[in-house]
Chain length 220, copies 2
Amino acid sequence: MPDIRAFFPFWDALSPEHREDLLRHCQPRRFEKGDVILPYKGQCLGLMLVQSGQFRAFILSDSGKEVTLYRLYDLDICLFSASCVMNNIQFDIQIEAEKDTRALLVPSSLYQRLIQQSIDMANYTNQLMASRFSDVMWILEQVLFKSMDCRLAQVLLEHAASQGSSDLVLTHEALARDLGSAREVVTRMLKYFREEELLELTRGRIRLLDEGRLQKIAAG
Amino acid sequence: MPDIRAFFPFWDALSPEHREDLLRHCQPRRFEKGDVILPYKGQCLGLMLVQSGQFRAFILSDSGKEVTLYRLYDLDICLFSASCVMNNIQFDIQIEAEKDTRALLVPSSLYQRLIQQSIDMANYTNQLMASRFSDVMWILEQVLFKSMDCRLAQVLLEHAASQGSSDLVLTHEALARDLGSAREVVTRMLKYFREEELLELTRGRIRLLDEGRLQKIAAG
């Protein structure tokens, strides 16, 4: 189980006092699959460091429609469980444990003090927010322009047909060329497909797991 | 014309050296309506402080469809013209001058040094990013669940009909109650309507400017 040092690449640059505060005050937490992390009983929890398991962040419409924004895995940091500490966050997201999860909680009071005293912590917070911002921009682009998932599914099925196999020897670069897109975009969509258990990714290979669902996606 | 001090609420807390760097190295820039601020000729500009005028941030689909993400007005700070300085920003937005605009540029090299040396600047960057993140979340919610604009337009037209006037005596709180929504959400949508020149807002009053377009929005 990773300890708190593993979550902060700048650990050694923190002051001895801050390191001690983190070691002393971080709290081990366990969540069962389905537990709600945000909103949490009206409390402001703080930074949640995922040691093992999985969180899912989503938004909920008035009518109860859910849209997944991103997932957090081992060694990820859940920032928005500390959103009460940050100014200018004017939206509500929900976060739940999607698997049984072990985490370390940095309480909001300590976290608030750290970002006011440690420039490394302040800038790291910035990086975390930029990552989540990027996740949400990606979702927005999918929702607005949603052709990429459809086109990628089409191209994958074409390769399966031409190779006569669902175990494709195919790089992300090659797919990006097929699609006239950037490799990063293709990699991201492939990872999304993997999370949806549509395919498996190994180096230089893509194995299709559910051609039926891919065909539905390809149909738009 | 506001000078650079007006943009940083923590100006007095900056070190004398940092204040002098900002005063000496910020560059006045003028943009004409339609000028592109991002991407800017392959260069990494830096923080752009809007003294007067208007910027519009948007994303562009492969097929050229534009979606406005937010607008920046006098005394706003354009963060993403400095996105090259920030880690983990994995998306491309475009920014253009929507009116003739005067701005101050804090060059990226100076800005980068400031966020590494000034905890106030690092945390302020965080606040700016959280504001833009909130803007984008709002757009995402509109796109996903887009009932609020429709419902608000309906309620405004109902009030106009019942008051026999397009000059409505109506508070945001009252509208929020009509809609079973939060006042902040209603205020935000009203401001969006104002930007679209559908209505004017004054204290306790809302004047409808274009009932024809509101009717189209109300129709969904």
